[in-house]
């Protein structure tokens, strides 16, 4: 399944021509059946995915099960997303009434070319389904590190509806082959900043490009919420996908004066990580990853105010400092906790890195959540999520601040005739 030639794209475009004639509700109903299959843990394709993903990614089976459920639930909410993003999903079928007599119709990209990264299996479900919901074909490039999920998801679509399945093609191509971008209506890419920049260069200027590059997420714990329960929830957010997701918290700013001191909170996180290790052990590391973790832990043992680490291996670590800073984690379940005296300190700490901000996992009172969202949103954060839910973005979340479905469609409007002047 290597490479793309123009025959592949011709076939996708032919399938799309048929797709364009189908009512959106029909497509959504079929996608819902696909999702239902994936949520059935006994379904053979779901079981195959779990087995093969555990093998190829090394991620803990319990984590994969939970992660796949999250991804499919998000995918299943696409009808609501279309209504929210486009005003009405039926704008994809016909002209719909808008305010002041305007009538609008939306067209999907025709061909959506997607390039996925290998950190979080299951992500392709959402984007592939969204392309189809927008009556568009989807050309998918899988990551070398995670080639398993997307072909299985495509197969499940074909099994539910062969015509729908014909509009999806999963493969790999040398990223600098220009063909997959030239006939696309939109290109969507996940990955490192350098990869995103390289792909952007290859996409013709008239083709829409949506790149999700480097992001850093972190947690903010208001004093009121500095409890063992919050620590357990945070540890889960960090452990999921071994911290490789862009929504995975790297560090936690913990306010002083709560039931647990910031140092006590760090200790509670350590205990929670230790407990999680039984339920969802961390994947095997590459030499580079292990060396990076080792170096960060070594440094911390001589510089941190408190260091907690799994004994005998690098399974998890919590590095606590009473002096706040902004230093990302080497990932793979290493959490930095920083004590702060007031939530207002966070703004100054993260402001120099505004371009990287994404998910802020927050625990604390509602009133303070709003103030934090206002300041960090202004800086560039695109999501304030409860600690414990960092890994389950709301289906209506505008990923990195841009509307998900609305960024992919093109609109045509019919303007009303004004009353002729006498």
């Amino acid at each position: 399944m290597i490479g793309v030639d123009s025959n592949v794209i011709d076939r996708l475009m032919a399938a799309q021509a048929t797709l364009a004639t189908r009512p959106v509700d029909r497509i959504l109903a079929l996608l819902d059946r696909v999702c239902a299959r994936w949520l059935d843990h006994a379904d053979p394709i779901r079981r195959e995915a779990e087995e093969r993903l555990a093998e190829s990614s090394g991620l803990a089976p319990a984590m994969l099960r939970r992660g796949l459920d999250d991804m499919i639930r998000r995918t299943r909410a696409i009808p609501a997303l279309l209504d929210a993003d486009l005003g009405s999903r039926y704008a994809l079928d016909r002209f719909v009434e808008r305010a002041s007599g305007l009538r609008s119709r939306a067209f999907g990209p025709g061909l959506l070319t997607c390039l996925f990264s290998g950190n979080v299996p299951g992500i392709p479900a959402f984007d592939i389904a969204l392309a189809l919901a927008l009556k568009s074909a989807c050309l998918v490039r899988v990551a070398a590190a995670e080639p398993v999920f997307a072909p299985l998801f495509a197969r499940s679509i074909t099994e539910v509806d062969a015509g729908l399945g014909e509009a999806v093609h999963v493969t790999r191509w040398p990223y600098d082959d220009p063909l997959p971008y030239q006939r696309a209506g939109a290109v969507l890419a996940y990955g490192a900043d350098a990869s995103i920049a390289a792909i952007r260069q290859l996409v013709p200027p008239e083709v829409r490009f949506l790149g999700h590059g480097h992001k850093i997420s972190f947690a903010v714990v208001a004093a009121e919420a500095a409890t063992e329960q919050t620590a357990r929830r945070l540890a889960r957010d960090v452990a999921m996908y071994d911290q490789q997701g862009c929504v995975s918290p790297h560090m936690a700013f913990v306010e002083r004066g709560g039931p647990l001191s910031p140092a006590g909170f760090a200790e509670a996180c350590a205990a929670a990580f230790a407990q999680l290790q039984g339920e969802m052990p961390r994947a095997k590391l590459t030499l580079e990853e292990a060396a990076a973790l080792r170096a960060a832990r070594d440094e911390a043992e001589f510089t941190a105010d408190a260091f907690h680490g799994s004994p005998g291996d690098l399974a998890w670590a919590v590095i606590h400092s009473e002096t706040p800073a902004f230093l990302p984690s080497p990932l793979n379940r290493l959490l930095r906790t920083y004590a702060i005296s007031s939530l207002s300190e966070v703004e100054g700490l993260v402001a120099p890195h505004a371009a990287y901000l994404q998910t802020i996992a927050y625990a604390g009172p509602e009133a303070r959540r709003l103030a934090l969202a206002e300041t960090l949103g202004r800086l560039g954060a695109s999501r304030i999520a409860p600690i414990g839910q960092a890994q389950q973005p709301h289906p209506l979340w505008r990923h990195d601040g841009a509307p998900t479905a609305a960024s992919l469609v093109r609109w045509v409007e019919i303007e009303p005739e004004e009353d002729p002047q006498p």
């Binding site: 996940y190 900043d193 480097h214 580079e288 990853e289 080792r294 001589f302 080497p330």
Partner: protein
């Protein structure tokens, strides 16, 4: 001199060719555990102490980063001297210090090794140092080390790096009038400057280059093979090149065995053990598999003899190979790992 110092002096002088490495290592461990609070704390955190460790391979290796953040000293009284890391890898602000109670052990352990790996087949020869002199940089362990070799083995020597950089004209002039083999000794990066200068000459057979150190934080990085090819282009095909593997935190050094027996793999003296450890578990990996380089250098009597470096290496039957500094992990997707972040912010 204490009994352990006298014993080490005998070992360095090859007067105890069959000494029991493990026994000496355990004795030094007991001494350093007792005298160095940061090291003792590090061992205690791993539930290792002289009371529980019976095999020297179980002695905890102190990460070399500790030398930046703590005073790692297990000598008697105040140290006579310290050497300081150059700070090129971590930025200028944080430098590690290696303290010495006295320098005679250091001197005694350095010379026979240098002679064995860099000077086989020659007694004395002119030494041209591509490094700063000890007067100019009194806390550089390389400068001090080179000065010790010059004192012992040089017919004449001079220093060709000063605070303005490489003294290229003076060096070229000296090289042009070489009428017998010469040794050029210094930092890898100084040799890059030399070959970049466009100098072209043919040094007499038997001439040799010993270079050490990396390129991090410098304007240009070249591979070792590339550097050696460029050196031969500049100084003639008869020049032999040897890499020294050492660091400020060590007292002893390891070298390529090129001049000794033709093998480019590295070896060190009998009082140094180099082992590759799995970074996850710190268990030794089998030969042929890469791991983090852990060094036991018995000559490190006044600091810590058991070091864990940030280098990746492989052990082979005929010596070991350094694959380089652990490059720093990258995230697998759109998150960013610490090292990537630091590189991006530096760049």
């Amino acid at each position: 001199m204490s009994a352990i110092e006298e014993r080490l002096m005998r070992i360095f002088a090859a007067q105890e060719p069959t000494f029991d490495f493990g026994e000496v290592a355990l004795a030094i461990f007991a001494r350093q555990y007792e005298r160095s609070v940061p090291y003792r704390r590090y061992c205690d955190a791993r539930s290792k102490s002289p009371a529980t460790v019976t095999d020297w391979r179980e002695i905890p290796h102190l990460p070399v980063t500790a030398f930046k953040h703590a005073r790692i000293y297990s000598g008697e009284g105040e140290p006579a001297h310290y050497f300081q890391t150059s700070g090129t890898t971590e930025g200028p602000e944080l430098r590690g210090r290696h303290y010495f109670e006295r320098l005679d052990l250091y001197r005694a352990c350095s010379r026979p090794v240098f002679q064995r790996f860099v000077l086989p087949g020659v007694e004395r020869l002119p030494m041209l140092m591509l490094a700063q002199s000890p007067a100019e940089n009194p806390h550089s362990s390389l400068s001090w080390y080179l000065s010790q070799q010059a004192e012992a083995f040089a017919t004449e020597s001079d220093w060709y790096v000063d605070s303005n950089g490489l003294r290229l004209e003076a060096l070229a002039e000296r090289l042009r009038r070489a009428d017998g083999p010469v040794a050029l000794l210094g930092t890898a990066f100084a040799f890059v400057h030399l070959v970049d200068s466009g100098l072209r000459l043919q040094l007499p057979p038997g001439s040799r280059v010993m270079e050490t150190g990396g390129f991090k934080g410098k304007s240009r990085e070249v591979s070792r093979d590339e550097l050696y090819a460029l050196i031969r282009d500049a100084l003639g095909p008869d020049v032999a090149c040897v890499n020294q593997y050492g660091m400020t935190e060590m007292s002893s050094n390891c070298y390529d065995q090129t001049l000794l027996n033709g093998s480019p793999r590295k070896a060190g003296p009998d009082w140094v053990a180099v082992r590759m450890l799995d970074p996850e578990t710190l268990v030794e990996v089998p030969p042929g598999q890469p791991g983090v380089v852990a060094i036991t250098d018995l000559a490190n009597l006044y600091s810590c003899a058991f070091l864990l470096t940030a280098d990746i290496g492989v052990q082979h039957a005929d010596g070991f190979e350094i694959l380089g500094r652990a490059p720093g992990a990258e995230a697998r997707g759109c998150s960013i790992a610490m090292d990537q972040f630091l590189r991006a912010n530096r760049g």
